[in-house]
Symmetry: C2
Subunit: 324 residues, 2 copies
Protein backbone atom coordinates (compact mmCIF):
# COMPACT_ATOMS: atom_id res chain seq x y z
CA UNK A 1 0.00 0.00 0.00
CA UNK A 2 1.23 3.48 -0.89
CA UNK A 3 0.86 6.54 1.30
CA UNK A 4 -1.23 8.20 -1.42
CA UNK A 5 -3.98 5.61 -0.85
CA UNK A 6 -4.00 6.09 2.92
CA UNK A 7 -3.71 9.90 2.75
CA UNK A 8 -2.21 12.33 5.24
CA UNK A 9 -4.99 11.99 7.82
CA UNK A 10 -5.15 8.20 7.45
CA UNK A 11 -1.44 8.08 8.26
CA UNK A 12 -1.91 10.28 11.34
CA UNK A 13 -4.76 8.02 12.57
CA UNK A 14 -2.58 4.96 11.98
CA UNK A 15 0.25 6.42 14.09
CA UNK A 16 -2.17 7.62 16.79
CA UNK A 17 -3.55 4.09 17.25
CA UNK A 18 -0.16 2.92 18.56
CA UNK A 19 0.30 5.67 21.16
CA UNK A 20 -0.82 5.01 24.74
CA UNK A 21 -2.43 7.69 26.93
CA UNK A 22 -0.34 9.39 29.62
CA UNK A 23 -1.58 11.40 32.63
CA UNK A 24 0.75 14.28 31.71
CA UNK A 25 -0.89 14.59 28.28
CA UNK A 26 -4.12 16.58 28.51
CA UNK A 27 -4.44 16.49 24.73
CA UNK A 28 -2.25 14.42 22.38
CA UNK A 29 -2.12 13.78 18.63
CA UNK A 30 -5.01 15.14 16.56
CA UNK A 31 -5.61 18.77 17.55
CA UNK A 32 -3.87 21.99 16.44
CA UNK A 33 -1.40 21.55 19.29
CA UNK A 34 -0.80 19.09 22.12
CA UNK A 35 -1.54 20.19 25.71
CA UNK A 36 0.97 18.98 28.30
CA UNK A 37 0.70 19.24 32.07
CA UNK A 38 4.07 20.32 33.55
CA UNK A 39 5.12 18.66 36.80
CA UNK A 40 5.09 21.16 39.66
CA UNK A 41 8.55 22.34 40.66
CA UNK A 42 10.22 21.11 37.46
CA UNK A 43 11.51 23.00 34.43
CA UNK A 44 10.90 21.78 30.89
CA UNK A 45 13.97 20.82 28.86
CA UNK A 46 13.36 21.05 25.13
CA UNK A 47 15.53 20.20 22.13
CA UNK A 48 14.97 19.71 18.41
CA UNK A 49 17.02 17.97 15.70
CA UNK A 50 16.55 17.41 11.98
CA UNK A 51 17.73 14.26 10.22
CA UNK A 52 17.97 14.45 6.44
CA UNK A 53 18.41 11.66 3.93
CA UNK A 54 21.82 11.98 2.27
CA UNK A 55 23.15 14.19 5.09
CA UNK A 56 22.42 12.38 8.37
CA UNK A 57 21.45 8.96 7.10
CA UNK A 58 21.58 6.68 4.06
CA UNK A 59 18.58 4.40 3.58
CA UNK A 60 20.81 1.74 2.04
CA UNK A 61 22.69 1.50 5.36
CA UNK A 62 19.80 0.59 7.64
CA UNK A 63 16.26 -0.72 7.97
CA UNK A 64 13.36 1.67 8.76
CA UNK A 65 12.97 0.36 12.33
CA UNK A 66 16.59 1.18 13.22
CA UNK A 67 16.27 4.62 11.63
CA UNK A 68 13.13 5.24 13.72
CA UNK A 69 15.02 4.31 16.88
CA UNK A 70 18.03 6.50 16.05
CA UNK A 71 15.87 9.52 15.09
CA UNK A 72 14.49 9.54 18.62
CA UNK A 73 17.75 8.48 20.33
CA UNK A 74 19.76 11.49 19.14
CA UNK A 75 17.15 13.81 20.67
CA UNK A 76 16.83 11.82 23.91
CA UNK A 77 20.62 12.07 24.17
CA UNK A 78 20.31 15.87 24.32
CA UNK A 79 17.73 15.58 27.08
CA UNK A 80 20.04 13.12 28.91
CA UNK A 81 22.94 15.57 28.57
CA UNK A 82 20.94 18.05 30.68
CA UNK A 83 20.48 15.39 33.36
CA UNK A 84 16.74 15.38 32.63
CA UNK A 85 14.11 12.66 32.31
CA UNK A 86 12.50 12.41 28.84
CA UNK A 87 8.72 12.90 28.91
CA UNK A 88 7.24 13.77 25.51
CA UNK A 89 8.20 14.21 21.87
CA UNK A 90 6.88 15.49 18.55
CA UNK A 91 7.70 14.01 15.15
CA UNK A 92 7.79 15.91 11.87
CA UNK A 93 8.28 13.77 8.81
CA UNK A 94 8.46 14.77 5.13
CA UNK A 95 7.96 11.73 2.93
CA UNK A 96 8.61 11.20 -0.78
CA UNK A 97 5.24 10.18 -2.28
CA UNK A 98 6.46 6.75 -3.39
CA UNK A 99 7.43 5.65 0.13
CA UNK A 100 5.61 2.40 0.88
CA UNK A 101 3.39 2.34 3.95
CA UNK A 102 5.51 -0.59 5.17
CA UNK A 103 8.46 1.78 5.51
CA UNK A 104 6.49 4.15 7.77
CA UNK A 105 5.15 1.23 9.82
CA UNK A 106 8.71 -0.01 10.45
CA UNK A 107 10.02 3.49 11.18
CA UNK A 108 7.21 4.19 13.68
CA UNK A 109 7.62 0.77 15.34
CA UNK A 110 11.30 1.53 15.96
CA UNK A 111 10.63 5.04 17.19
CA UNK A 112 7.82 4.00 19.52
CA UNK A 113 9.76 1.06 20.99
CA UNK A 114 12.63 3.42 21.80
CA UNK A 115 10.11 5.91 23.24
CA UNK A 116 8.64 3.26 25.51
CA UNK A 117 12.07 2.12 26.66
CA UNK A 118 12.96 5.65 27.78
CA UNK A 119 9.53 6.77 29.00
CA UNK A 120 8.72 9.35 26.28
CA UNK A 121 5.21 9.78 24.81
CA UNK A 122 4.53 10.91 21.24
CA UNK A 123 2.14 13.88 21.48
CA UNK A 124 2.05 15.43 18.02
CA UNK A 125 3.94 16.67 15.01
CA UNK A 126 3.49 17.02 11.31
CA UNK A 127 3.43 14.82 8.22
CA UNK A 128 3.95 16.21 4.75
CA UNK A 129 5.14 15.32 1.28
CA UNK A 130 8.77 15.80 0.28
CA UNK A 131 9.94 16.46 -3.27
CA UNK A 132 13.50 15.63 -2.17
CA UNK A 133 14.49 12.84 0.17
CA UNK A 134 13.08 11.80 3.51
CA UNK A 135 13.35 14.53 6.17
CA UNK A 136 12.76 13.90 9.86
CA UNK A 137 12.43 16.45 12.64
CA UNK A 138 12.08 15.40 16.27
CA UNK A 139 11.43 17.72 19.22
CA UNK A 140 12.00 16.04 22.59
CA UNK A 141 10.90 17.34 25.99
CA UNK A 142 12.17 16.34 29.41
CA UNK A 143 11.83 17.50 32.99
CA UNK A 144 14.16 18.13 35.89
CA UNK A 145 14.31 20.21 39.06
CA UNK A 146 15.86 23.56 38.04
CA UNK A 147 18.72 23.22 40.52
CA UNK A 148 19.71 19.80 39.11
CA UNK A 149 19.86 20.81 35.42
CA UNK A 150 23.38 20.15 34.09
CA UNK A 151 24.64 22.91 31.80
CA UNK A 152 27.76 23.17 29.67
CA UNK A 153 28.93 26.18 31.62
CA UNK A 154 29.95 25.06 35.14
CA UNK A 155 33.40 23.46 34.64
CA UNK A 156 36.20 24.84 36.87
CA UNK A 157 39.99 24.50 36.68
CA UNK A 158 41.06 21.35 38.51
CA UNK A 159 37.89 19.41 37.60
CA UNK A 160 38.28 15.96 36.10
CA UNK A 161 37.02 15.36 32.54
CA UNK A 162 35.03 12.12 32.25
CA UNK A 163 33.28 10.24 29.47
CA UNK A 164 30.86 7.29 29.53
CA UNK A 165 31.32 4.15 27.39
CA UNK A 166 33.80 4.20 24.50
CA UNK A 167 34.44 6.84 21.84
CA UNK A 168 35.18 6.69 18.11
CA UNK A 169 33.03 3.60 17.55
CA UNK A 170 30.25 5.36 15.62
CA UNK A 171 32.70 7.12 13.28
CA UNK A 172 34.58 3.84 12.67
CA UNK A 173 31.19 2.20 12.04
CA UNK A 174 30.33 4.82 9.44
CA UNK A 175 33.63 4.11 7.64
CA UNK A 176 32.75 0.40 7.60
CA UNK A 177 29.25 1.14 6.25
CA UNK A 178 30.75 3.19 3.45
CA UNK A 179 32.99 0.22 2.62
CA UNK A 180 29.97 -2.08 2.37
CA UNK A 181 29.80 -3.65 5.85
CA UNK A 182 26.27 -3.92 7.27
CA UNK A 183 26.71 -5.46 10.70
CA UNK A 184 28.89 -5.88 13.76
CA UNK A 185 29.52 -3.84 16.91
CA UNK A 186 30.90 -0.69 15.25
CA UNK A 187 28.16 -0.56 12.63
CA UNK A 188 25.50 -0.91 15.30
CA UNK A 189 27.12 1.88 17.34
CA UNK A 190 26.65 4.13 14.28
CA UNK A 191 23.14 3.04 13.33
CA UNK A 192 21.57 2.38 16.71
CA UNK A 193 23.13 4.47 19.48
CA UNK A 194 21.86 4.23 23.05
CA UNK A 195 21.14 7.57 24.72
CA UNK A 196 22.62 7.57 28.23
CA UNK A 197 19.35 8.58 29.84
CA UNK A 198 19.64 6.71 33.15
CA UNK A 199 23.28 7.75 33.64
CA UNK A 200 22.38 11.40 32.94
CA UNK A 201 19.56 11.43 35.48
CA UNK A 202 21.71 9.60 38.06
CA UNK A 203 24.59 12.05 37.61
CA UNK A 204 22.22 15.00 38.02
CA UNK A 205 20.80 13.49 41.20
CA UNK A 206 24.29 12.78 42.59
CA UNK A 207 25.13 16.47 42.41
CA UNK A 208 28.79 15.89 41.54
CA UNK A 209 28.77 17.13 37.92
CA UNK A 210 29.86 20.70 37.11
CA UNK A 211 29.22 20.59 33.32
CA UNK A 212 27.88 18.05 30.83
CA UNK A 213 27.35 17.58 27.07
CA UNK A 214 26.68 14.58 24.83
CA UNK A 215 29.29 13.50 22.29
CA UNK A 216 27.51 14.17 19.01
CA UNK A 217 30.20 16.15 17.12
CA UNK A 218 33.31 14.45 18.54
CA UNK A 219 35.11 14.56 21.93
CA UNK A 220 37.37 17.45 20.96
CA UNK A 221 34.61 19.66 19.61
CA UNK A 222 32.12 18.85 22.36
CA UNK A 223 34.70 19.35 25.12
CA UNK A 224 35.51 22.58 23.31
CA UNK A 225 31.89 23.69 23.83
CA UNK A 226 32.16 23.00 27.58
CA UNK A 227 35.48 24.91 27.74
CA UNK A 228 34.08 27.90 25.83
CA UNK A 229 30.88 28.09 27.89
CA UNK A 230 32.78 27.61 31.15
CA UNK A 231 35.67 29.95 30.29
CA UNK A 232 38.28 27.26 30.90
CA UNK A 233 40.73 25.04 29.02
CA UNK A 234 41.42 21.31 29.29
CA UNK A 235 44.20 18.78 29.04
CA UNK A 236 43.39 15.31 27.73
CA UNK A 237 45.59 12.27 28.22
CA UNK A 238 45.08 10.20 25.10
CA UNK A 239 46.23 7.00 26.86
CA UNK A 240 43.07 7.28 28.97
CA UNK A 241 40.59 7.57 26.06
CA UNK A 242 38.19 4.62 26.34
CA UNK A 243 38.52 2.71 23.06
CA UNK A 244 36.72 -0.54 22.26
CA UNK A 245 38.66 -3.58 21.03
CA UNK A 246 36.65 -3.46 17.80
CA UNK A 247 37.60 0.19 17.31
CA UNK A 248 41.26 -0.53 18.05
CA UNK A 249 41.48 -3.30 15.48
CA UNK A 250 39.90 -1.00 12.86
CA UNK A 251 41.95 2.11 13.67
CA UNK A 252 45.26 0.56 14.71
CA UNK A 253 47.39 3.01 12.72
CA UNK A 254 46.30 6.16 14.57
CA UNK A 255 43.68 5.29 17.17
CA UNK A 256 43.43 8.86 18.49
CA UNK A 257 42.45 10.87 15.38
CA UNK A 258 38.99 9.38 14.94
CA UNK A 259 38.37 8.91 18.68
CA UNK A 260 38.87 12.67 19.14
CA UNK A 261 37.00 13.96 16.09
CA UNK A 262 34.41 11.26 15.33
CA UNK A 263 30.84 12.21 16.21
CA UNK A 264 27.65 10.34 16.96
CA UNK A 265 28.80 8.21 19.89
CA UNK A 266 26.11 9.86 22.04
CA UNK A 267 28.12 9.20 25.18
CA UNK A 268 28.06 11.72 28.04
CA UNK A 269 31.11 13.94 28.45
CA UNK A 270 31.20 15.67 31.83
CA UNK A 271 33.33 17.36 34.46
CA UNK A 272 33.45 16.65 38.19
CA UNK A 273 35.44 18.20 41.03
CA UNK A 274 38.71 16.42 41.87
CA UNK A 275 38.19 13.53 44.27
CA UNK A 276 34.61 12.81 43.24
CA UNK A 277 35.52 10.34 40.49
CA UNK A 278 34.78 7.23 42.59
CA UNK A 279 31.28 8.58 43.20
CA UNK A 280 30.65 9.34 39.50
CA UNK A 281 31.93 5.89 38.53
CA UNK A 282 29.65 4.20 41.04
CA UNK A 283 26.60 6.26 40.00
CA UNK A 284 27.12 5.38 36.32
CA UNK A 285 27.90 1.74 37.09
CA UNK A 286 24.50 1.50 38.78
CA UNK A 287 23.00 2.98 35.58
CA UNK A 288 24.80 0.27 33.61
CA UNK A 289 27.51 2.32 31.90
CA UNK A 290 31.27 2.52 32.53
CA UNK A 291 33.02 5.87 32.96
CA UNK A 292 36.63 6.90 32.26
CA UNK A 293 38.52 9.92 33.57
CA UNK A 294 40.30 11.25 30.46
CA UNK A 295 41.80 14.54 31.56
CA UNK A 296 41.57 17.67 33.66
CA UNK A 297 40.09 21.13 33.31
CA UNK A 298 42.72 23.89 33.19
CA UNK A 299 42.73 27.64 33.64
CA UNK A 300 42.92 29.58 30.39
CA UNK A 301 41.53 28.30 27.12
CA UNK A 302 42.09 25.66 24.46
CA UNK A 303 42.52 21.92 24.70
CA UNK A 304 45.97 20.41 25.16
CA UNK A 305 46.44 16.82 24.09
CA UNK A 306 49.08 14.56 25.64
CA UNK A 307 50.15 11.44 23.72
CA UNK A 308 50.76 8.26 25.76
CA UNK A 309 54.50 9.08 25.90
CA UNK A 310 53.72 12.51 27.38
CA UNK A 311 54.60 14.51 24.23
CA UNK A 312 52.04 16.95 22.77
CA UNK A 313 49.67 15.44 20.19
CA UNK A 314 48.25 17.48 17.34
CA UNK A 315 44.77 16.33 16.26
CA UNK A 316 44.39 16.21 12.47
CA UNK A 317 40.71 17.26 12.67
CA UNK A 318 38.64 18.98 15.30
CA UNK A 319 35.15 17.57 14.65
CA UNK A 320 32.04 17.99 12.58
CA UNK A 321 30.78 21.35 11.28
CA UNK A 322 27.77 21.21 8.98
CA UNK A 323 28.87 24.16 6.85
CA UNK A 324 32.66 23.66 6.81
Amino acid sequence: MKLAELGEFGLIDRIKAHVAASPSVLLGIGDDAAALVPTEGFVTLITSDMLLEGVHFDLSFCDPRTLGRKSLSVNLSDVAAMGARPRHFLLGVALPKDVPLKFMDGFMAGMLEQAERFGATLVGGDTCASKGGLAISVTALGEQHPELVLKRSGARPGDLVCVTGTVGDAAAGLNLLMRGEREGFLVSRQLDPTPRVEAGIALAAAGCVTAMIDVSDGVLQDLGHICEMSGVGARLELAKLPLSDEYLSECAEDPFALALSGGEDYELLFCIPEGRDAEALEVCARAGVPVSVIGTVTAGSGIELAAPDGTPYRAPRRGFDHFA
Copy 2:
Protein backbone atom coordinates in the same frame (compact mmCIF):
# COMPACT_ATOMS: atom_id res chain seq x y z
CA MET B 1 29.92 35.97 2.94
CA LYS B 2 29.03 32.30 2.61
CA LEU B 3 27.87 30.12 5.47
CA ALA B 4 30.93 27.90 5.01
CA GLU B 5 33.15 30.80 6.14
CA LEU B 6 31.06 31.50 9.23
CA GLY B 7 30.56 27.83 10.15
CA GLU B 8 27.73 26.15 12.01
CA PHE B 9 28.66 27.53 15.41
CA GLY B 10 29.36 31.01 14.07
CA LEU B 11 25.84 31.02 12.62
CA ILE B 12 24.34 29.95 15.96
CA ASP B 13 26.26 32.73 17.77
CA ARG B 14 25.06 35.23 15.17
CA ILE B 15 21.42 34.24 15.74
CA LYS B 16 21.84 34.17 19.52
CA ALA B 17 23.09 37.77 19.53
CA HIS B 18 19.65 38.96 18.35
CA VAL B 19 17.59 37.14 20.98
CA ALA B 20 16.62 38.96 24.17
CA ALA B 21 16.51 37.26 27.59
CA SER B 22 13.17 36.30 29.09
CA PRO B 23 12.37 35.45 32.73
CA SER B 24 10.66 32.21 31.62
CA VAL B 25 13.87 31.01 29.93
CA LEU B 26 16.24 29.51 32.51
CA LEU B 27 18.58 28.45 29.69
CA GLY B 28 18.24 29.45 26.03
CA ILE B 29 20.23 28.91 22.83
CA GLY B 30 23.62 27.25 23.23
CA ASP B 31 23.25 24.18 25.43
CA ASP B 32 22.10 20.63 24.62
CA ALA B 33 18.52 21.69 25.36
CA ALA B 34 16.72 24.83 26.50
CA ALA B 35 15.28 24.98 30.02
CA LEU B 36 11.88 26.69 30.30
CA VAL B 37 10.03 27.63 33.47
CA PRO B 38 6.33 26.75 33.12
CA THR B 39 3.83 29.23 34.58
CA GLU B 40 2.06 27.74 37.60
CA GLY B 41 -1.47 26.60 36.86
CA PHE B 42 -1.00 26.62 33.07
CA VAL B 43 -0.61 23.78 30.59
CA THR B 44 1.94 23.90 27.78
CA LEU B 45 0.57 23.89 24.23
CA ILE B 46 3.10 22.59 21.72
CA THR B 47 3.00 22.25 17.95
CA SER B 48 5.55 21.61 15.20
CA ASP B 49 5.47 22.22 11.43
CA MET B 50 7.93 21.65 8.63
CA LEU B 51 8.21 23.97 5.62
CA LEU B 52 10.05 22.60 2.62
CA GLU B 53 11.30 24.43 -0.44
CA GLY B 54 9.35 23.28 -3.50
CA VAL B 55 6.50 21.95 -1.34
CA HIS B 56 5.49 24.73 1.05
CA PHE B 57 7.31 27.67 -0.47
CA ASP B 58 9.07 28.88 -3.59
CA LEU B 59 12.06 31.17 -3.06
CA SER B 60 11.29 33.00 -6.30
CA PHE B 61 7.94 34.08 -4.80
CA CYS B 62 9.20 35.92 -1.74
CA ASP B 63 12.08 37.59 0.04
CA PRO B 64 13.84 35.86 2.98
CA ARG B 65 12.35 38.22 5.56
CA THR B 66 8.78 37.40 4.55
CA LEU B 67 9.58 33.67 4.55
CA GLY B 68 10.99 34.02 8.07
CA ARG B 69 7.79 35.70 9.23
CA LYS B 70 5.52 33.09 7.62
CA SER B 71 7.56 30.15 8.98
CA LEU B 72 6.79 31.34 12.48
CA SER B 73 3.25 32.57 11.72
CA VAL B 74 1.93 29.16 10.64
CA ASN B 75 3.05 27.69 13.96
CA LEU B 76 1.74 30.60 16.04
CA SER B 77 -1.57 30.10 14.24
CA ASP B 78 -1.77 26.56 15.70
CA VAL B 79 -1.08 27.95 19.18
CA ALA B 80 -3.77 30.61 18.59
CA ALA B 81 -6.24 27.92 17.50
CA MET B 82 -5.96 26.41 21.01
CA GLY B 83 -6.78 29.80 22.53
CA ALA B 84 -3.26 29.95 23.97
CA ARG B 85 -0.64 32.66 24.32
CA PRO B 86 2.62 31.99 22.42
CA ARG B 87 5.68 31.89 24.68
CA HIS B 88 8.68 30.15 23.09
CA PHE B 89 9.83 28.53 19.88
CA LEU B 90 12.61 26.40 18.40
CA LEU B 91 13.90 26.68 14.85
CA GLY B 92 15.43 23.86 12.84
CA VAL B 93 16.90 24.88 9.51
CA ALA B 94 18.65 22.79 6.87
CA LEU B 95 20.55 25.03 4.47
CA PRO B 96 22.08 24.34 1.08
CA LYS B 97 25.80 25.15 1.42
CA ASP B 98 25.72 27.93 -1.17
CA VAL B 99 23.10 29.96 0.70
CA PRO B 100 24.52 33.44 1.29
CA LEU B 101 24.69 34.65 4.85
CA LYS B 102 22.55 37.60 3.75
CA PHE B 103 19.68 35.19 3.14
CA MET B 104 19.87 33.84 6.69
CA ASP B 105 20.15 37.36 8.13
CA GLY B 106 16.96 38.38 6.31
CA PHE B 107 15.15 35.19 7.24
CA MET B 108 16.05 35.56 10.93
CA ALA B 109 15.14 39.27 10.95
CA GLY B 110 11.66 38.39 9.67
CA MET B 111 11.21 35.51 12.08
CA LEU B 112 12.40 37.49 15.10
CA GLU B 113 10.26 40.56 14.29
CA GLN B 114 7.19 38.29 14.09
CA ALA B 115 8.28 36.61 17.34
CA GLU B 116 8.52 39.97 19.10
CA ARG B 117 5.14 41.07 17.77
CA PHE B 118 3.46 38.00 19.25
CA GLY B 119 5.55 37.62 22.42
CA ALA B 120 7.44 34.43 21.54
CA THR B 121 11.13 33.90 22.43
CA LEU B 122 13.54 31.79 20.36
CA VAL B 123 15.11 29.27 22.77
CA GLY B 124 16.93 26.75 20.59
CA GLY B 125 16.86 24.46 17.61
CA ASP B 126 19.22 23.03 15.08
CA THR B 127 21.17 24.17 12.01
CA CYS B 128 22.48 21.71 9.46
CA ALA B 129 23.47 21.39 5.82
CA SER B 130 20.93 20.28 3.23
CA LYS B 131 21.83 18.46 0.02
CA GLY B 132 18.34 19.22 -1.30
CA GLY B 133 16.51 22.51 -0.87
CA LEU B 134 15.97 24.65 2.17
CA ALA B 135 14.04 22.88 4.94
CA ILE B 136 12.57 24.67 7.95
CA SER B 137 11.09 23.15 11.08
CA VAL B 138 9.51 25.29 13.77
CA THR B 139 8.23 24.08 17.14
CA ALA B 140 6.08 26.65 18.95
CA LEU B 141 5.03 26.59 22.59
CA GLY B 142 2.21 28.45 24.25
CA GLU B 143 0.43 28.50 27.59
CA GLN B 144 -3.16 28.60 28.77
CA HIS B 145 -5.22 27.59 31.80
CA PRO B 146 -6.26 23.96 31.20
CA GLU B 147 -9.97 24.78 31.47
CA LEU B 148 -9.70 27.49 28.78
CA VAL B 149 -7.91 25.38 26.13
CA LEU B 150 -10.04 25.26 22.97
CA LYS B 151 -10.11 21.82 21.36
CA ARG B 152 -11.57 20.62 18.07
CA SER B 153 -13.90 18.27 19.89
CA GLY B 154 -16.56 20.30 21.73
CA ALA B 155 -19.02 21.37 18.97
CA ARG B 156 -22.69 20.49 19.62
CA PRO B 157 -25.72 20.41 17.30
CA GLY B 158 -27.31 23.84 17.18
CA ASP B 159 -23.98 25.69 17.60
CA LEU B 160 -23.17 28.46 15.15
CA VAL B 161 -20.14 28.05 12.87
CA CYS B 162 -18.00 31.21 12.71
CA VAL B 163 -14.83 32.29 10.93
CA THR B 164 -12.58 35.31 11.38
CA GLY B 165 -11.47 37.56 8.50
CA THR B 166 -11.98 36.41 4.91
CA VAL B 167 -11.32 33.02 3.31
CA GLY B 168 -9.90 31.94 -0.04
CA ASP B 169 -7.50 34.89 -0.27
CA ALA B 170 -4.30 32.89 0.28
CA ALA B 171 -5.25 30.28 -2.34
CA ALA B 172 -6.16 33.00 -4.83
CA GLY B 173 -2.84 34.69 -3.98
CA LEU B 174 -0.96 31.49 -4.75
CA ASN B 175 -2.66 31.30 -8.15
CA LEU B 176 -1.55 34.88 -8.84
CA LEU B 177 2.03 34.10 -7.77
CA MET B 178 2.11 31.15 -10.15
CA ARG B 179 0.99 33.49 -12.92
CA GLY B 180 3.86 35.86 -12.16
CA GLU B 181 2.26 38.46 -9.85
CA ARG B 182 4.45 39.46 -6.92
CA GLU B 183 2.35 41.95 -4.95
CA GLY B 184 -1.09 43.07 -3.88
CA PHE B 185 -3.52 42.07 -1.15
CA LEU B 186 -4.08 38.45 -2.22
CA VAL B 187 -0.37 37.78 -2.74
CA SER B 188 0.42 39.19 0.68
CA ARG B 189 -2.31 37.02 2.27
CA GLN B 190 -0.46 33.98 0.82
CA LEU B 191 3.08 35.04 1.65
CA ASP B 192 2.61 36.85 4.94
CA PRO B 193 -0.40 35.59 6.89
CA THR B 194 -1.26 37.06 10.29
CA PRO B 195 -1.88 34.47 13.01
CA ARG B 196 -5.05 35.41 14.94
CA VAL B 197 -3.28 35.27 18.28
CA GLU B 198 -5.14 38.04 20.13
CA ALA B 199 -8.53 36.86 18.85
CA GLY B 200 -7.76 33.27 19.92
CA ILE B 201 -6.80 34.30 23.45
CA ALA B 202 -9.81 36.63 23.72
CA LEU B 203 -12.20 33.90 22.56
CA ALA B 204 -10.74 31.45 25.08
CA ALA B 205 -11.13 34.00 27.88
CA ALA B 206 -14.72 34.78 26.84
CA GLY B 207 -15.69 31.15 27.37
CA CYS B 208 -18.19 31.11 24.51
CA VAL B 209 -16.34 28.80 22.10
CA THR B 210 -17.14 25.07 21.98
CA ALA B 211 -14.54 24.05 19.34
CA MET B 212 -11.83 25.83 17.35
CA ILE B 213 -9.29 25.15 14.56
CA ASP B 214 -7.24 27.35 12.24
CA VAL B 215 -7.91 27.35 8.51
CA SER B 216 -4.71 25.84 7.12
CA ASP B 217 -6.10 23.15 4.80
CA GLY B 218 -9.32 24.90 3.70
CA VAL B 219 -12.66 25.69 5.39
CA LEU B 220 -14.29 22.45 4.29
CA GLN B 221 -11.48 20.18 5.44
CA ASP B 222 -10.81 22.04 8.67
CA LEU B 223 -14.51 22.20 9.58
CA GLY B 224 -14.51 18.48 8.72
CA HIS B 225 -11.89 17.93 11.46
CA ILE B 226 -14.09 19.73 14.01
CA CYS B 227 -17.11 17.67 12.92
CA GLU B 228 -15.21 14.37 13.12
CA MET B 229 -13.67 15.12 16.52
CA SER B 230 -16.99 16.42 17.88
CA GLY B 231 -19.16 13.66 16.36
CA VAL B 232 -21.41 16.17 14.58
CA GLY B 233 -22.21 17.44 11.09
CA ALA B 234 -22.60 20.98 9.79
CA ARG B 235 -24.53 23.05 7.29
CA LEU B 236 -22.80 26.00 5.64
CA GLU B 237 -24.60 28.84 3.87
CA LEU B 238 -22.30 29.88 1.08
CA ALA B 239 -23.89 33.33 0.84
CA LYS B 240 -22.45 34.01 4.30
CA LEU B 241 -18.82 33.08 3.47
CA PRO B 242 -16.69 36.17 4.09
CA LEU B 243 -15.00 36.94 0.75
CA SER B 244 -12.75 39.93 0.11
CA ASP B 245 -13.41 42.25 -2.83
CA GLU B 246 -9.99 41.33 -4.22
CA TYR B 247 -10.86 37.63 -4.01
CA LEU B 248 -14.24 38.21 -5.64
CA SER B 249 -12.75 40.00 -8.61
CA GLU B 250 -10.23 37.16 -9.10
CA CYS B 251 -12.68 34.29 -8.63
CA ALA B 252 -15.86 35.77 -10.07
CA GLU B 253 -16.79 32.64 -12.03
CA ASP B 254 -17.19 30.32 -9.02
CA PRO B 255 -16.33 32.21 -5.84
CA PHE B 256 -17.17 29.25 -3.58
CA ALA B 257 -14.86 26.47 -4.83
CA LEU B 258 -11.59 28.07 -3.76
CA ALA B 259 -13.06 29.73 -0.65
CA LEU B 260 -14.08 26.27 0.61
CA SER B 261 -10.99 24.27 -0.35
CA GLY B 262 -8.16 26.81 -0.38
CA GLY B 263 -5.77 26.54 2.54
CA GLU B 264 -3.33 28.86 4.30
CA ASP B 265 -5.71 31.65 5.27
CA TYR B 266 -4.79 31.00 8.93
CA GLU B 267 -8.11 32.43 10.06
CA LEU B 268 -9.85 30.94 13.12
CA LEU B 269 -12.84 28.68 12.46
CA PHE B 270 -14.92 28.08 15.58
CA CYS B 271 -18.29 27.09 16.99
CA ILE B 272 -20.35 28.92 19.61
CA PRO B 273 -23.70 28.13 21.22
CA GLU B 274 -26.72 29.78 19.56
CA GLY B 275 -27.30 33.30 20.81
CA ARG B 276 -23.70 34.00 21.74
CA ASP B 277 -22.73 35.42 18.34
CA ALA B 278 -22.95 39.05 19.41
CA GLU B 279 -20.49 38.29 22.21
CA ALA B 280 -18.03 36.50 19.90
CA LEU B 281 -18.24 39.34 17.38
CA GLU B 282 -17.54 41.91 20.06
CA VAL B 283 -14.65 39.95 21.55
CA CYS B 284 -12.99 39.60 18.12
CA ALA B 285 -13.71 43.20 17.18
CA ARG B 286 -11.78 44.26 20.28
CA ALA B 287 -8.93 42.01 19.05
CA GLY B 288 -9.10 43.80 15.70
CA VAL B 289 -10.60 41.07 13.51
CA PRO B 290 -14.10 40.72 12.02
CA VAL B 291 -16.12 37.51 12.44
CA SER B 292 -18.83 35.99 10.25
CA VAL B 293 -21.42 33.37 11.17
CA ILE B 294 -21.34 30.99 8.19
CA GLY B 295 -23.52 28.06 9.24
CA THR B 296 -24.75 25.79 11.97
CA VAL B 297 -23.64 22.53 13.58
CA THR B 298 -26.03 19.64 12.91
CA ALA B 299 -26.64 16.22 14.42
CA GLY B 300 -25.22 13.37 12.36
CA SER B 301 -22.16 13.71 10.18
CA GLY B 302 -20.93 15.32 6.98
CA ILE B 303 -21.05 18.91 5.79
CA GLU B 304 -24.03 20.16 3.80
CA LEU B 305 -23.50 23.19 1.59
CA ALA B 306 -26.33 25.53 0.66
CA ALA B 307 -25.89 27.81 -2.38
CA PRO B 308 -27.18 31.40 -2.11
CA ASP B 309 -30.47 30.32 -3.77
CA GLY B 310 -30.95 27.60 -1.15
CA THR B 311 -30.16 24.67 -3.44
CA PRO B 312 -27.45 22.14 -2.45
CA TYR B 313 -23.94 22.99 -3.63
CA ARG B 314 -21.37 20.32 -4.44
CA ALA B 315 -17.77 21.37 -3.76
CA PRO B 316 -15.36 20.35 -6.55
CA ARG B 317 -12.52 19.73 -4.04
CA ARG B 318 -12.39 19.12 -0.32
CA GLY B 319 -8.99 20.59 0.61
CA PHE B 320 -5.31 19.84 0.84
CA ASP B 321 -3.91 16.36 1.54
CA HIS B 322 -0.13 16.05 1.36
CA PHE B 323 -0.19 12.51 -0.01
CA ALA B 324 -3.29 12.64 -2.22
